[in-house]
């Protein structure tokens, strides 16, 4: 059966991707963040998943505003990199895992999650930046296949934080019931506090972020109780993205521990963070491949 070998929570700010692509590791602005990634990357490099399930949101790049699904799942064989307005990011195309996608889809629908099925999807920075956080130098191909799971965070009403956690719990059950011995990593992306437009643009709420970073490990239920309105008020209109971390958290199960974390302000107009969690299956996975 499939195993979940780790969970990664990470911001997916486009400028982090641009900084990585521009090899700005030593730039004074970016060095603290990239230094923070280093130990986590080392640990992950010794535990390589076959498939990454990346929970993210499209930023009105691949999906128009005419049709906004609350939760969707990609079932394609390939996910090309979308042109966000200045040419596609120069990273490898993303290869899908249609068998696992189908398995997850059927199990999630059976559990009463009303998924939208994306048979075609171009992926934006929301998915590719987290892949780069995991694997900064993919060469010609990413080291794993990908199942994208998308959450509406752009248009009110977003799913509740509780519903996101429940989706994650069902996702965890679905992954573990996949009848192949594969290793799966789950990515929860977005956040932390930020607001792009309005008079509050530039908002950062470190207190809210720090609490979220701690409780995502120890007490995700308390984060699930926060209302949409409070996410928007406290973390900013785009900071509500962090409800996507709860999907990852729900999938990992109760028995996890933190390997590493980093928090940095600013990445572009955003507070950025990364937190890496081990599961009971972490150590069984190719530690010395």
């Amino acid at each position: 059966m499939a195993e979940i070998i780790w969970g990664l929570a990470t911001s997916h700010v486009p400028s982090i991707g641009a900084a990585m692509d521009g090899r700005l590791n030593e730039d004074e602005l970016w060095k603290p963040l990239f230094d923070g990634y280093a130990p986590a990357r080392e640990w992950m490099a010794e535990r390589t998943p076959d498939v990454a399930i990346v929970v993210y949101n499209d930023h009105a790049n691949a999906l128009g505003l005419e049709m906004i699904p609350t939760f969707s799942i990609g079932t394609a064989a390939n996910y090309p990199i979308v042109d966000e307005g200045f040419g596609p990011r120069k990273v490898p195309n993303v290869v899908g895992a249609p068998d696992l996608s189908e398995h997850l889809l059927v199990n999630l629908v059976d559990e009463g999650f009303d998924m939208t099925v994306l048979q075609e999807l171009e992926v934006d920075h929301g998915l590719t930046v987290p892949l780069s956080v995991y694997c900064p130098e993919p060469g010609d191909a990413w080291p794993c296949t990908v199942v994208p799971i998308l959450v509406n965070v752009l248009q009110y009403p977003q799913p509740t934080a509780r519903r996101c956690l429940q989706l994650g719990e069902a996702l965890g059950r679905a992954i573990r019931s996949f009848p192949k011995d594969i290793k799966v990593a789950v990515f929860g992306t977005g956040g932390m506090s930020h607001q792009l437009s309005g008079e509050r643009a530039g908002l950062i709420n470190e207190e809210f972020d720090r609490n979220f970073l701690e409780k995502i490990e120890t007490d995700p239920q308390s984060l699930a109780e926060i209302s949409r309105a409070d996410y928007i008020k406290k973390a900013g209109s785009e900071g509500i993205e962090m409800i996507m971390w709860l999907v990852m958290r729900g999938a990992l199960g109760s028995d996890i521990h933190r390997i590493h974390e980093t928090y940095h302000v600013p990445a572009s107009n955003t507070a950025a963070a990364m937190a890496l969690f081990a599961t009971p299956s972490s150590e069984g996975s190719n530690p010395h491949e």
Binding site: S15, A60, G64, Y156, L196, L203, E206, I232, K233
Partner: protein
């Protein structure tokens, strides 16, 4: 009409009402993700806006690059970014435009830990 959308001072909360209001504007801005449309737009901005049926308020906000106005009248900020990309304006520049701050002050506020509210 009942709207459930939370009203948060200083914050746009994009909802179905904003989407309805900003429909034509957002469709036009979304089209700018394609290189051939960016060329068409740059060749004659006004005519391009007319093709997408923008009303006067929407059109003048675009032509005058009134960034704040665009987001006030229903443009999704993620689409506004596509127009800013054509002008080679950064997210920090937009932040300044939205808040009435200079680019330098806005950037400095972020480097100092971000702007604090409430």
């Amino acid at each position: 009409m009942t709207t459930y959308t939370p009203q948060v001072e200083g914050t746009h909360v994009y909802d179905t009402g904003m989407s309805l209001r900003g429909r034509a504007l957002n469709k036009m801005l979304y089209s700018l993700r394609l290189p051939q449309n960016r060329e068409l737009f740059s060749a004659d901005e006004g005519a391009y806006c007319d093709t997408y049926g923008l009303n006067e308020e929407q059109k003048s906000a675009v032509l005058e690059r009134d960034w704040k106005k665009m987001t006030d009248i229903g443009a999704s900020v993620f689409y506004v970014i596509k127009l800013a990309a054509i002008d080679k304006k950064s997210m920090q520049y937009l932040g300044g435009a939205f808040t009435g701050m200079s680019l330098e002050d806005f950037t400095a506020a972020l480097r100092a830990g971000g702007r604090k509210f409430g």
